[in-house]
Assembly symmetry: C2
Homo-oligomer: 564 residues x 2
C-alpha cells in the first residue's frame, strides 16, 4: 500500500489561482505563498457580505481512539464526493500543530485519496499563521514581565498572572518552569509555563474574529491577570494589542490549498478540540460558504468535543446555521467502546480485525449517544461508516440499524480513503438529502444568560452523561468573579479528555452515573469564552519513546520523507 | 519630515517577478510569497555554479552608537547609486529580528530613500525563516529533554547540555530558567534558558551552508552536550537532524524584495554581529553575485565585529573574495568617540549637532583604527561620510583627511538617506574605482591551523587594540578539549560588545592598554566555528521602559502603523 505522502506526490498539482478561479475567487483577492498555497482576503466573507449561499455541513465523529476515526479524511472526502454528484463543494479544516506532527502522528492532511496537498506544506509551517500566533502571544508575555520589573505602573499582582507563553512543539519540560532567575537584570522570578500554540487564546481569537479590526479589539480585551485591587489587567492596558495585531495582520486571511481531486480546501487556525475550541476559523467558513453550493467543515475529536463547541461557541458567534452533520465511525473504534479490548503499546489490538458482532453491539452505545448529542442541537445527522477491509457485512448492518434507531437520518458506508470522491457518493447523497430537507432547526444547547456553572452542568448532564457535577471551590470562585465582572454571558469551552464522553479516558461506550469534576476555570475574554478544565488536562503534550520526528528527513532531491 | 514607513508607502511597488526578471532570474526559480516577496532557489548559487561574475562589496562601519551609523541605509543606497552610474547592482542584507523591532528600534529595512520595501513585511515575519529556525532549534531541545527522561539511551550528562531554546522576542526573564518542574511526567528539572533566535546555531547554519544537503549535514553535526564518558552528543545521535532539515527546507532559499528605486534586494538569515557571526547568508551572496555587476552585502555593527566575521568566517567558508569595502561613519558618532559626551536617557546628546572640530579630531581615532582593521585583510576601503544637515564643512574635511591618512582609498560624502541613489554617486564611483583597481588581495587574519587561543589573541591584539588577553580557566579547558576532539581548525566567533573596539562598551575611540577577557567558549560544530565570549554578553535582550511595541498598531485599513 502506498503511503499518504507517496499518493500525494503523484498528484498533478494545479496552480492555486486556477483552483480558486473555478470557485469564482478572483486573483486579486489572493496572496500567493509558493505555487500551491495562497492566502485569500478574509473580507470576502465578513458579516457585511450577508448570508452565504452555500449549505453548511459539519463533520464530527464518535468518541475516537488514538488512531483517529478518519474525520479529516471525511471532511476532505465528503467535499470530493459532493463535487462528484454535481455540487460545487469545498472543505475547511484546521492547520495542524507541528507538535503532534513530530510527536505522535506524522501528518494531518487527511489520508489516502482524500488529502489536502502538498501535504508537506500543509504539515510544516503552512503560511506561518501558527508562528504569528505564537509571536503575538509571547510578545504579550514579555510585555507583562517587563512591566512588572520596570516600576510595575499597572500594579500587576505577579501571583495572578495567568497568561502563559506558547511554542508549537511537544515539549513537556516547559509545562512548569520558573523564569526570571539570575538577578534583577533578568526580571522578577515567577512560576509559569508554556502551552502548545494550539491552546493559545491568540489562536482562538483568530478563529473567532469577524475581521482584522475584530482581531484587534479582541486582542485588546485579553485579560492577563489582575492588579493589586483585584481588577482585570488587559493587553490594551499594557499597550501591546496593537503590535500583536500588526504581527497577526496576515494571519486572519485563510489559506487555500487543493485536494487530491483538484477541488478547493480552506485551512485556517488550529485550536485543539480537547483543550481549546477545536474548530477552523469563522472567516474561513464564511469566505468558503460564499463561493460554494456546499461547505464541509470539520470539528475536532468526538461530537461531545469539537461539535459541541462548533454549535455553542462558533455558530453562536458567527450566526451561521448548519444544515447537516456527518458523523464518522469505524467498526474498530466501536469494538474498543465495548470495553473488552485494551491498547497494546500505544496501538490498537490486532483482534479488532476479527469479526465480533457482540463487541460492536456493546460499543454502539457510544455511536448512539453521539448521534443523540448532535440531534439536541436541531441538526440532521448522517452516519458515515469509514469502511476497513476487515469489516464484515453483519457488523456494518448492525451499525446502520443502531444509527438509524438513535435518530440518524441515514447511515452509509464510506470508502473515501481508498477511492476518493467516488468512494463517498452514498454519504454525499444522504447529506444533500438531509441538507435540502429543511429539517435543520439549529439552536445552541444553552442560552447566553445562564450562570456559568449551569452551562457546564447542562453539558455534563445532557451530553456527557454525568450523574452529578462537582465544581471545585476555586472554579466556583472564578465563576462568581467572572459573573460579577460582566463575563457571565460568555459560553463555556470545556477542556477534557477526548477519549471518553466523560472526563475519564478509561470510561468507554456511553458511561453513566459518574461525577463530572470541574477543577478550574479561566477567562478567555478576547476569544469570548470561559475555559473550564475537567479533571487533569495537559495543555502541553510530550514526546514519547518513539517520536515521529525520528522518521522525518529530506532525500537527495530535498524532498521531505517520513511524514505519514 | 516623512517617516520611513510613509516614504515606503508612497513607492509604486512592482511585482517581484518583474524585478527578478530584470536581473535574469527566471520565474521558475521563484516561489512567490505575496506579490512583493519571493524565495529564490538557492541552487542558482551553489558552488557548482562556479565563480560569480559580480564584484563583491561589503559595507561596514566605525564602532557605532546605539542610534546606528546608517549601514543598512548604505548597503541599500550604494546598490542604488551603482545602478545610477550604470552598474547592474543588488544588495544583500539580513532579516531583522522581531526582538529589536518591538524592543528598541522599530524597523531595520534601511531608511529614508534607501529602503527595502514593503518595510512592514520585511520587519514582520518576512517569509518565515526566523520562525523555521526557532522551530528546528526548539524541536532539538524537546528531543534532548525527552531522551534524558525516557531511559536516557545516549547517556547524556544533563549538566553538560549547552543547547538552549530560542524565541524571536526580547524576553529577559527567559535568560535563566528552571524547566521540568512538577514531577516526573514533566521531565527532569534542569537549569537552562532561552536565547534570541538570531543567536541560534541553526540560524548560523542557514547562513553558512552551501545548499540544503549541507544544511542537513551541518545540523547533524550540532553538539548539544556530552555523554557520561565526556564524548560529544550530536543532533544526529538524537535522530533529530532530519526533521530539523525538513522544517528548514524552504528557509535555505533566500528571499528577494525590491528597493525604493525598484532594484533587487536579497534578504536572508539574521545572526546578530555581537553574539553571532553577523552576516547575511552565503547562498544569498552567491545567487546574487551570479546575477549582477556589483553585489553590495552588509556585515553587522563595526568593522571589528561583522566585518571581521565576514572575512574570517564567511569568506573563509564560501571562498568568495571581496573586491572593496565601504566603511560608513557619521560625524555625530565620531564626536561621541571623543569620550566627551554621554548618552542621555538612551539618546544621543543634543550638543552633537553643534560644530565641534576638536571632538571630531579626537573621535577619528576610531575611524582610523577601523580603516586599518579592514586593510589588514587586504581589501581596499572607501569611507562614506553619512551626512547630516548639522555637519559642517570643517568637520567633514577633517574626517576625509584622517580617513585617507589611515589608508582609505577615498572618503566621500553620502546622502543616500535623503536622496536615494542620486545621493550616493560619489561613493559609488569610488567603490567602482577601488573594485576595478585590482588592489584587492584578500586573506583572512589567521590560518586554520593556529591554536584557538592564539586566534583570539591575534584578533584582540591586532584588531581590538588589547595589551593582554586573559583567558579564564574554563575557556582554556574548553579550547583544549575542542582541540583534542578535532575542532581546533575552526575559526573563532567573538561575542563582545558592539559599542567599543574593546570588550568594554564604555571605552570609546581606539582604546589601548586593556586586558581582553575571554570568559567562556562554546562549540558551534554545525555552523563551523567556536563562539568565544568576552566579558558579559547577553544572548537575550530585554524590553526597556519605552519599548517600540507600544507605538505599533494597525489603522482602519488594516495597514501597520508605528514602525520606524
Amino acid at each position: 500500500m502506498r503511503s499518504d505522502l507517496e499518493i500525494a506526490r503523484d498528484i498533478q498539482l494545479r496552480p492555486i489561482g486556477e483552483i480558486a478561479s473555478a470557485y469564482g475567487i478572483p486573483d486579486d483577492a489572493l496572496e500567493p505563498y509558493g505555487r500551491y498555497m495562497a492566502k485569500v482576503d478574509h473580507r470576502l466573507g465578513t458579516k457585511a457580505e450577508g448570508p452565504a449561499r452555500g449549505k453548511y455541513v459539519m463533520v464530527t465523529a464518535i468518541t475516537p481512539t488514538p488512531a483517529g476515526e478518519g474525520k479529516t479524511v471525511h471532511t476532505v472526502g465528503l467535499s470530493l464526493a459532493l463535487n462528484k454528484i454535481g455540487k460545487k463543494a469545498a472543505c475547511a479544516i484546521r492547520q495542524p500543530s507541528m507538535g503532534p506532527v513530530f510527536g505522535i502522528k506524522g501528518g494531518a492532511a487527511g489520508g489516502g485519496f482524500s488529502q489536502v496537498v502538498p501535504m508537506e506544506d500543509f504539515n510544516l509551517h503552512l503560511t506561518g499563521d501558527f508562528h504569528a500566533a505564537a509571536a503575538a502571544n509571547n510578545l504579550l508575555s514579555a510585555a507583562i514581565d517587563a512591566s512588572i520589573l520596570l516600576d510595575n505602573p499597572l500594579e500587576i499582582d505577579p501571583f495572578t498572572v495567568t497568561w502563559r507563553r506558547v511554542v508549537d512543539c511537544n515539549d513537556r519540560v516547559l509545562r512548569q518552569i520558573v523564569t526570571g532567575l539570575g538577578g534583577k537584570a533578568n526580571g522578577v522570578p515567577m512560576e509559569t509555563g508554556f502551552d502548545i500554540t494550539s491552546a493559545s487564546e491568540v489562536m482562538a481569537i483568530l478563529g473567532m474574529s469577524d475581521d482584522l479590526a475584530d482581531v484587534r479589539r479582541r486582542l485588546g480585551r485579553i485579560v492577563i491577570g489582575q492588579n493589586r485591587k483585584g481588577e482585570p489587567v488587559t493587553a490594551d492596558d499594557l499597550e501591546c494589542a496593537g503590535a500583536m495585531a500588526a504581527i497577526l495582520r496576515r494571519a486572519i486571511d485563510p489559506t487555500i490549498m487543493q485536494t487530491t481531486e483538484g477541488t478547493l480546501a480552506f485551512v485556517h487556525t488550529g485550536p485543539f478540540a480537547n483543550i481549546a475550541h477545536g474548530n477552523s476559523s469563522i472567516v474561513a467558513d464564511r469566505v468558503a460558504a460564499h463561493h460554494v453550493d456546499y461547505l464541509v467543515t470539520e470539528a475536532g475529536f468526538g461530537a461531545d468535543m469539537g461539535a459541541e463547541k462548533f454549535f455553542d461557541i462558533k455558530c453562536r458567534a458567527s450566526g451561521m446555521r448548519p444544515d447537516a452533520v456527518l458523523l464518522v465511525a469505524t467498526i474498530r473504534a466501536l469494538k474498543m467502546h465495548s470495553g473488552q479490548f485494551a491498547m497494546v503499546g500505544g496501538k490498537l489490538p490486532p483482534e479488532l480485525s476479527d469479526e465480533n458482532v457482540e463487541a460492536v453491539r456493546l460499543g454502539c452505545s457510544n455511536l448512539e449517544a453521539q448521534v443523540k448529542n448532535v440531534r439536541k442541537f436541531g441538526v440532521p445527522v448522517v452516519v458515515a461508516i469509514n469502511r476497513f477491509p476487515t469489516d464484515t457485512a453483519a457488523e456494518i448492518a448492525l451499525v446502520q440499524e443502531r444509527a438509524l434507531a438513535a435518530g440518524a437520518r441515514a447511515a452509509e458506508i464510506s470508502e473515501v480513503h481508498g477511492k476518493g470522491g467516488a468512494g463517498g457518493e452514498a454519504i454525499a447523497r444522504a447529506i444533500v438529502a438531509a441538507a435540502e430537507s429543511g429539517e435543520a432547526d439549529f439552536s445552541p444547547l444553552y442560552p447566553d444568560d445562564m450562570l456559568l456553572a449551569d452551562k457546564v452542568k447542562r453539558l455534563a448532564h445532557e451530553l456527557y452523561g454525568a450523574e452529578t457535577v462537582e465544581i471545585a471551590p476555586a472554579a466556583a470562585k472564578t465563576f462568581a468573579t467572572l459573573e460579577a465582572q460582566g463575563y457571565g454571558h460568555l459560553p463555556v469551552c470545556v477542556a477534557k479528555t477526548q477519549y471518553s464522553l466523560s472526563h475519564d479516558a478509561s470510561l468507554k461506550g456511553a458511561p453513566r452515573g459518574f461525577a463530572f469534576p470541574v477543577r478550574e476555570a479561566r477567562l478567555a475574554a478576547g476569544a469570548g469564552f470561559v475555559v473550564v478544565y475537567a479533571g487533569t488536562v495537559m495543555t502541553m503534550p510530550g514526546l514519547g519513546r518513539t517520536p515521529a520526528y525520528k522518521q522525518v528527513d529530506i532525500d537527495e532531491n530535498g524532498e521531505v520523507i517520513g511524514l505519514f
